[in-house]
């Protein structure tokens, strides 16, 4: 994440420098690249679209032990690379592959059956950290550029998205208790990575500035959304949202 921001700053600095150089050297403005193909590279941050949770049941002391988790994803990094092809006048179609990662955290609540008596569960709560979340996939973009100035353009983006989501989900727990076993404390949890493909959509806007004949820098904002139902084990499913609000910077190379 920090690396992405540093990179973004460097790009903007480079853009500013290029602009200053061009101001010192009077010349005609650079023309927009005439190529039909534009390579796209973006890096940024992604804010996950909301919390998710699990509800599953373990068996402890010959009784059902319901477990509930409430998880959310921290802001993570996202990297995109792809290509756009101008297909009609200003209209382009692009395909951008992306990878994103984040870390999930939250809380766990469980009702652990008593070893001696039926229907006397012990409430157990604990914090969960370090649940890895990864997304891969492609955004298919329909891009419509709006010219803002000779050097700047605003591009509206949108289209379907295809996600592969990997999420570490809690599958088991251990706890500590002692006689008379009326209370228990969470000791440890174990998790498994569940993986699922799904579809969604993306919409976005990017502001680009030409910095050389064939290169532009870009500021990008995108909202992507997809939902998959992950299964860590039989009866242990979780509906997880993919995507989120993305903010990043990038480079565009025209051919």
């Amino acid at each position: 994440m920090r690396r992405v921001l540093v990179m973004a700053g460097a790009l903007l600095l480079a853009a500013g420098t290029a602009h200053a150089q061009s101001a010192r050297t009077p010349s005609r403005p650079a023309r927009a690249p005439s190529g039909r193909v534009r390579l796209v590279v973006n890096g940024g941050a992604q804010v996950a679209p909301g919390s998710f949770g699990q509800q599953f049941t373990l068996t402890r002391n010959v009784e059902a032990a319901p477990v509930t988790t409430d998880l959310s994803l921290a802001t993570g990094g996202v990297f995109e690379a792809g290509v756009r092809l101008r297909v009609h006048r200003r209209l382009s179609i692009g395909v951008v592959g992306f990878v994103a990662s984040a870390t999930g955290s939250g809380t766990l609540d469980a009702k652990l059956p008593h070893p001696f008596y039926f229907n006397r569960p012990r409430d157990v709560t604990g914090d969960l950290t370090g649940l890895a979340h990864k997304e891969r996939g492609v955004h298919v973009e329909l891009a419509v550029p709006l010219r803002v100035s000779a050097r700047d353009e605003l591009i509206l983006l949108g289209g379907p998205s295809y996600f592969t989501v990997e999420q570490a989900l809690v599958t088991d727990l251990t706890y500590a208790d002692s006689y008379p076993y009326d209370t228990a404390t969470l000791d440890d949890t174990s998790s498994a990575v569940a993986k699922k493909n799904g579809a969604g959509f993306n919409v976005g806007v990017e502001l680009t500035r030409q910095v050389s004949r064939s290169a532009r820098v870009a500021l990008l904002g995108r909202y992507a959304r997809g939902t998959v139902t992950l299964s860590a084990a039989s009866g242990n499913e979780s509906k997880v949202h993919a995507g989120g609000v993305q903010v990043g910077v990038g480079l565009r190379f025209a051919f």
Binding site: N61, V62, H114, P115, F116, F118, G130, L186, T189, S191
Partner: protein, 543 residues
């Protein structure tokens, strides 16, 4: 992914472990793990081992040739501190055919500053073992001195193993003051929770142990040794055990292959013994029969139920229609009668199927270790009554109030002796017991030890009236009870009076004074409990 504190602790421990392997220090007591398999670490540890051997801090305990790798030899070295072995401090050194060290693994301790002169003698330590386990160690297995690493340093202790019918125990006894620092199960067993069907067809959990694919009725989750033995209808074996002629082992425990138990008598005896322990612990903070986790052994199926008609009246009375506390933490539960046979117009199921019966018998054990109420005449009736009080208290603790099966009431044994049970605390006269001192029976000791099971109706009525209130049928005097929501007050009053204040030869009059004093101490002279106890004794004619 770990709970945070756990993770932090684990990390610190791991770091310390790493540090201890790389930089052993001598100034502070610390454990050093040897994991030497590389030339550099082998050289360092070789030097250390040789120095310790020269200094007498290590001794060769065992050496043997490697049967799988020709030429290799394994030497096991024990660390000593001034001639006393350090518990767990053992190194193994592997050498090749020319005597060069190949590996060294194990643990040593440094910074040991324990005085190895014990205050206790071996005999003293054996006495601690006997008090703790009931085992008199023979000359072949005396307690031995070891230096025991503990959290804050080291202790000079006696180490001893004692084996009883219910398993083995390893004790570490402080050689200065006789305190038991550690007590370990010498047998390798695992706890397990199973489900069982009780005598009345109810489902309950039972805490058992598992080993080699078989589950047996040894509760490893509660602090005391809590074991249920299936006597397999062998009366002679039962008698031999009760008379100390044989011991019972793990094969005598009730057993099940899938941990879904169907022998109701064993299930209930085992589960209810645990319930009894839990009740005393939660209500009174008491740890079992002797308040020191004394063993609780239950014997079921002492006789063949189907053969009842061929048995003598004495055997029927003792092992079919009876349950009894045999001393030493041993309970025997009668087999009841076949479903086609009745006694006194009542059907008798397995006696262990009634929670009040189980708690009654075990409470005799509590009396044994506390007041020691003499089992004769009025003190004997008080002894019986206290067991009825606690049996009923346990019943109300675990079952909802009501009049049906497995519902709490003031009848004794009503779940397995149907209809009606064998006594009523609410109306003793309905079962031939006196409910008033004026109606007490005076019998010779040869008759029920002076009527201990008859006159117990009088203090039983006190218990009932003190909780529920009402009118004594004989005196017509009314009592304002504390109410069912405050029954705990009367339970605690009776427990305190009977276990801590009651003399062994108490009469009913003494019991009145003691229980009133107990209530006064607990709740005040003008409290509802004190008033209820006082009124109840007056109502039954004990002043």
């Amino acid at each position: 992914m770990r709970a945070r504190i756990r993770a932090l602790t684990s990390s610190i421990v791991a770091l310390l472990a790493v540090a201890s392997t790389t930089a052993p220090a001598l100034a502070q007591p610390r454990r050093t793990a040897a994991l030497a398999a590389e030339p550099s670490s082998i050289r360092a540890w070789d030097a250390t081992v040789d120095a310790m051997l020269r200094g007498g801090d290590l001794e060769v305990r065992h050496a043997e040739a490697d049967t799988l790798l020709s030429g290799r030899t394994h030497v096991r070295l024990q660390q000593f501190h001034r001639g006393v072995p350090v518990y767990g401090a053992v190194l193994t050194r592997q050498t090749d055919d020319i005597g060069a060290t190949v590996s060294i693994f194990g643990t040593t301790y440094s910074g040991i500053d324990v005085d190895v002169r014990p205050v206790l003698t071996v005999t003293d330590a054996a006495a601690v073992v006997a008090a703790r386990t009931g085992v008199d160690l023979g000359p072949e297995r005396p307690p031995t001195l070891v230096v025991l690493p503990v959290e804050d340093g080291f202790r000079l202790v006696y180490r001893a193993s004692a084996f009883t019918a219910e398993g083995g125990t390893e004790l570490f006894i402080d050689a200065r003051d006789g305190a038991v620092l550690e007590e370990l199960d010498a047998a390798q067993r695992q706890s397990a929770v199973g489900t069982g069907t009780g005598v009345l067809g109810d489902q309950k959990k039972i805490s058992v142990s598992s080993a080699t694919g078989t589950f047996t009725t040894s509760d490893l989750l509660r602090p005391p040794s809590l074991v249920t033995y299936d006597m397999r209808e062998n009366l002679q074996r039962t008698l031999d055990f009760l008379n100390g002629r044989i011991t019972l082992g793990s094969t005598d425990r009730a057993a099940d292959s899938d941990n879904h138990w169907t022998d109701g008598a064993a299930v209930d005896a085992h589960a209810y013994a645990g319930y009894f322990y839990d009740y005393y612990f939660k209500r009174f903070g008491r740890r079992g029969i002797d308040d020191n986790n004394f063993r609780m052994l239950s014997l079921v199926h002492p006789v063949p139920r189907a053969a009842v008609l061929s048995q003598s009246n004495a055997v029927i009375g003792a092992f079919y229609l009876n349950a009894f506390y045999a001393g030493g933490g041993v309970m025997v539960y009668g087999e009841g009668l076949p479903s086609t046979v009745t006694a006194g117009g009542q059907r008798w199921n397995f006696l262990s199927g009634a929670i009040d019966v189980v708690a009654h018998e075990l409470s005799h054990g509590v009396t044994d270790f506390t007041s020691g109420l003499l089992y004769r005449n009025e003190s004997g009736a008080l002894n019986e009554s206290f067991s009825d009080m606690m049996g009923t208290a346990v019943e109300f603790y675990y079952q909802p109030p009501g009049s049906g099966s497995m519902q709490a009431d003031y009848l004794i044994g009503e779940d397995v002796i149907t209809p009606g049970g064998i006594r009523s605390m609410e109306n003793p006269a309905a079962y031939g017991q006196p409910d008033h001192y004026a109606r007490r029976v005076i019998l010779p000791l040869s008759s029920d030890n002076g009527g201990v099971h008859t006159n117990s109706g009088i203090p039983n009525q006190v218990y009932y009236l003190a909780i529920e209130g009402g009118t004594n049928r004989t005196s017509g005097l009314s009592v304002q009870g504390v109410g069912v929501s405050n029954r705990e007050q009367i339970e605690k009053t009776m427990y305190r009076a009977f276990t801590q204040m009651m003399p062994a030869d108490a009469t009913f009059a003494v019991a009145r004074a003691v229980t009133i004093q107990a209530a006064t101490n607990l709740y005040g002279a003008s409290s509802a409990a004190t008033r209820a106890i006082t009124q109840a004794w007056t109502a039954v004619g004990v002043n």
